[in-house]
Amino acid sequence: MKYITMVGDQEFQIEIVDERHVSLNGTLYEVDFDSVSGEPVVSLLVDGKSYEAYVYEDEQGLQVLLHGRMFPVLVEDEREKRLRAAAGSRIAERGDFHLRSPMPGLVIALPVGEGQEVQKGEVLVVLESMKMQNELRAPRAGIISRLRVKPGDSVDQHQTLLTVS
């Protein structure tokens, strides 16, 4: 099976040859891959070198935490890559952005109102969790089209707090 794997903006051609062999940009490696200590910790031996990493999934793809560094990775086969190229990356720029709570917590303040214009980086919500007040900021400019919470509300992780259009 052949994959095109992007780590950040570096592209790798990777082929899973069999259980024990992987080729990376044409070079063959002997590998021994195993999940240890329960997900998401994995152990990999590559030509005798021993690596241990966390591999997390997120919306964009996979995150590999290795030796204390986080690598964002996108793994696609040929078909997926072509599909994505055709679709382009127009979606992210347009449409609604739903600000979801990154953790359970208590809404302390909402410095913005419905209909208000906001700039990228502007504080939208102040959320208290684990005794710390955390500021959630706008990832892009836009207009607050909908507020779904008010100060004093307890919110769950991933709960939508407001929408930027």
Partner: protein, 504 residues
């Protein structure tokens, strides 16, 4: 002399105190909120009583209920740990009024040092240098503070009078920012301490945060256990502490001079039990009294590792009326200790708190490694309390050995289920400025980045690529197998979902 102690706290520090009691042959009583029925402190104590719902105000801050538990269980003393009720003079007094020993200083000392403004005034009167600020002015309104600010000069800090741990603290760079930041600081102080009072303090630039551990008994002995370097902070929260301080280093004269001042500051309020004098130290080695923490500190283990003194046991002995087992001349700093605070927060996502059930944990062990932890696999990290889930402390004969040991320990430490700041500490251990001991209290926020690549370190990008591809490949294959199964017997599907319904 009491034989049973209520530990009025949770998490790693409750476990730490329970262990000390148990090793002294003292019976232990835990208290817990609904979020903590399965917590380690409940499991490890001889007795455990529920306080109330998860929020601190309804549980760990309910001093009345805790005293009731102590009386009901026949305990003779209460250890408050840090945070929660640890620095509440009224609670300490209520314990005494109920005939219970409070394992900490006298209420008067807590009160004197607890109001940061009064504290600065008190030690200043004893001839101890303090950072310029609005000390001793009492409670000031916003308009007064705005008026006084230019006299102190910018940058300055707004600090909660009842504060600690960076809560209710804000940094101000210009007069315009004052009103908004005063509002934010008061709001946080009110939420954290039930007291919105704040004061102003000059921000010493390039400053080190260095503190001295104090022990004092009821027989008039006051000693210090050397210093801790606590300059590595983020949002005024300490992240890593070490003892000795690389800044003080071999300057034994400076250490002794600061130690003496620390002892004097404690004596100024007739201090008893364990406490900490915090100093700001500028580049010229001028040092200023910052505040006194009238309780056990999170970072006490680094001092224990280099002095061999078990501070919690000593606290209990002092509360039992015993003399300190050490005189100042017994105290030697042997080797080097470093503590990394392991927080449930994501260093790759702006250090946002991370909650959830810990599904797996593999702790580093072996020579020179100590882990003070309050969690275990299966325990749920909740959003109700602070993010500190464990402390990793290492000892080495030299600072270099301690750093190497910390590196291998951090790499070994695996926690699944929540994100932690372990990668932050790994990054810190690799930073040449940390290794060189060259950092101040602004280092983490201003000169440190999770993204920056250290010179000479090649990132194993190709390995990350292979790992991710193998994981993705497995997922694809697993999905394919499920489809194949389904193809063999299409009628399964409806029953599968029926089964799933049954399971709910």
């Amino acid at each position: 002399m009491f034989k049973k102690v209520v530990v009025a706290n949770r998490g790693e520090i409750a476990v730490r105190i329970l262990r000390a009691c148990r090793e002294l042959g003292i019976q232990t009583v835990a208290v817990y909120s609904d979020a903590d029925r399965q917590a380690l402190h409940v499991r490890y104590a001889d007795e455990a009583y529920r306080l109330g719902p998860a929020p601190s105000r309804e549980s760990y801050l309910r001093g009345d209920k805790i005293i009731e538990v102590a009386l009901r269980s026949g305990a003779g003393a209460i250890h408050p740990g840090y945070g929660f009720l640890a620095e509440r003079a009224d609670f300490a007094q209520a314990c005494l009024d109920a005939g219970l020993a409070f394992i900490g200083p006298k209420p008067s000392a807590i009160a004197a040092m607890g109001d940061k403004a009064v504290a600065r005034n008190t030690v200043s009167a004893a001839g101890i240098p303090v950072v310029p600020g609005t000390e001793g002015e009492g409670s000031l309104h916003d308009e007064d503070l705005v008026r006084l600010a230019p006299q102190i000069g910018f940058p300055l800090l707004i600090k909660a009078t009842a504060g600690g741990g960076g809560k209710g603290m804000r940094e101000v760079h210009s007069l315009e920012e004052m009103p908004g930041l005063l509002h934010a600081a008061r709001r946080e102080a009110e939420a954290s301490f039930g007291d919105g009072n704040v004061y102003l303090e000059k921000l010493v630039e390039g400053a080190r945060h260095i503190e001295f551990q104090i022990l004092a008994d009821t027989h008039g002995s006051v000693i210090h256990l050397g210093e801790r370097e606590c300059s590595l902070q983020r949002r005024h929260q300490k992240l890593l502490e070490e003892s000795p301080s690389p800044f003080v280093g071999d300057d034994e004269e400076l250490r002794q001079r600061m130690g003496l001042v620390a002892v004097r500051a404690a004596q100024a309020v007739e201090y008893v039990n364990a406490g900490t004098i915090e100093f700001l130290v500028d580049k010229e080695k001028n040092f200023y009294f910052l505040e006194m923490n009238t309780r056990l500190q999170v970072e006490h283990p680094v001092t224990e590792m280099v002095t061999g003194v078990d501070i919690v046991k000593e606290q209990i002995r002092v509360a039992r009326g015993r003399q300190l087992r050490y005189s100042q001349s017994d105290i030697r700093l042997n080797g080097w200790a470093i503590e990394c605070r392991v927080n449930a927060e994501d260093p790759f996502n702006n250090f946002l708190p991370s909650t959830g059930r810990i599904t797996h944990s593999l702790m580093p062990t072996g020579p020179g490694v100590r882990v003070d932890s309050g969690v275990y696999p299966g325990f749920e990290v909740s959003p109700y309390y602070d993010a500190l889930i464990s402390k990793l402390i290492v000892w080495g004969e030299t600072r270099a050995e301690a750093i190497l040991r910390m590196r291998r320990s951090l790499e070994e430490y695996k926690i699944a289920g929540v994100r932690t700041n372990i990668p932050f500490h790994q990054k810190l251990m690799d930073s040449t400025r940390f290794m060189g001991g060259q950092f101040d209290t602004r280092f983490v926020e201003e000169r440190f980045s999770m993204e920056a690549v250290e010179e000479g370190k090649s990132a194993p990008v190709d390995i990350a690529a292979i790992l991710a591809t193998l994981v993705a490949h497995r997922q694809t294959q697993r999905a394919a197998q499920i489809v194949q199964r389904g193809e063999r017997d299409t009628s399964n599907w409806k029953w599968l979902s029926r089964w799933e319904r049954l399971q709910r």
